[in-house]
């Protein structure tokens, strides 16, 4: 009888922990809510105009941050096309998209500008030294790594496939995963833009 009681107590504790953790990140998001899970927006990079850019330059409007590289064959172009479509669908007046290149060896400001202009004029490109990028990605629990270059000097870069969404005050609000639909992304952008 005692062991049945103990088991019941254990099951109740585990269930409580599951319920507690399932509330992590905030409720009501159609994508992944990350309120309280990730720190606020903070960075110091070089923008695609060659000028320094920090989170203060983007304050006042929600910002979507993506870590990628312009030579990326699939993940980055898809993500950029999806966020451009979601931003259009959300019909939000003020919204920034920051494309942070984790391949500073190949992505100079000019190349970044040509790349980001192709998708939307809301997208700003930025990059920095590998050390600075490492600190920024680490802050958002992301990473990147480089493959060995082939005979033509080309190499693959592993990087985060998520888009990090911050509100106008720079607080982390949502994470757009590759599995999230454009409609869900647009709905959450609208919600974050309103609040």
């Amino acid at each position: 009888m005692t062991s049945v009681k103990h088991t019941a107590v254990k099951i109740a504790l585990v269930s409580a922990l599951i319920v507690l953790l399932s509330g992590c990140g905030g409720r009501g998001y159609e994508t992944k809510g990350v309120e309280g899970l990730l720190p606020a927006l903070e960075f110091s990079l070089t923008s695609d105009t060659g000028q320094p850019i920090t989170e203060a330059d983007l304050r006042g409007a929600p910002t979507v941050v993506f870590f990628g590289f312009t030579h990326c064959p699939d993940v980055c172009p898809t993500a950029m096309a999806r966020i451009a479509a979601a931003v259009d669908a959300a019909n939000a007046d003020d919204l920034n998209v920051l494309f942070v290149s984790v391949d500073p060896g190949r992505d100079n400001p000019e190349r970044l500008r040509r790349y980001t202009d192709f998708f939307s004029d809301r997208v700003t490109g930025a990059t920095a030294s590998v050390e600075t990028l490492r600190a920024m990605t680490k802050r958002y629990r992301a990473t990147f790594g480089y493959d060995e270059p082939n005979e033509f000097g080309d190499y693959n870069v592993s990087h985060s496939s998520a888009m990090y969404v911050f509100d106008a005050e720079g607080e982390a609000r949502a994470l757009f995963r590759p599995s999230d639909s454009v409609t869900a992304m647009a709905n959450d952008l609208r919600r974050i833009n309103r609040s």
Partner: protein
Amino acid sequence: MTPIIEWLRPWEPSAPVFIACVLAIGLYASGLMRGARPGFWPALSYLLGVGLIYAVTQTHYDYFSQYLFAAHRLQHLALHHLGPFLIALSMPAAVLAAGLPQSVRHWPQQPALAPLFTALRVGYRIIQQPFIAGFLFVGLIYFWLTPAIHFDAMLSIDLYWFMNWTMALDGLLFWWLIFERGDRGITPRLTPGQRILMLALIMPPQIALGAYITLSKQNLFEIYDVCGRAFPIAPLLDQQIGGLITWIPASMMSVVAAVIILAFRLEQSNDKR
């Protein structure tokens, strides 16, 4: 910076983990200096166990644990199985007690603290009931590998450390119960048969989970794509290696522990003769 120093530098320094490891080694060393004589192999086993826990959490290895599923599974194998296994096998209670300052050793008898220690003792005995201990041991592996919970645990640094602490503490509780011997303490003393039965019962759920992860054609743990992997590797390959680590070495630990328990039993019989 030389590669060795780079490797020794923690990726995510954690003061509580660092202090816990330093205290564990410091107390043990103090116990040895005050005359405790555990023998060479128990001392080596203890130091290896603590060292292993430190190595997978407070060196650059932790970087790979955070950005590769296979490395994460290896980290939990060390935190939940191998490290606590080696510590419990060495039965360090007497050495650690000898290492404690005299005043601290009397805390449980002090009127102001006695109720707290009584509550701790009762709580400890409850979670060390064989069924609860076995359920917790397997349940925690399943819990932290539930994809949605795993996602949050790897995304939030606070949850990440909470997960690792629960694994290490639960590992210590479980293996302590399995290897408990010598003078009777507050840990329930199980017969060799009960211990081997527990070890047998925790195997099938671990094998099932490991096999499910290894053989799954689906990418179960999206977080590693979302946050990026330490180096370019096919997601399913990473998942399969992680699944195999959950499946084979984790289950094999039960077999190794059962052999050790039988060896202790034989040794006892020989001593009686």
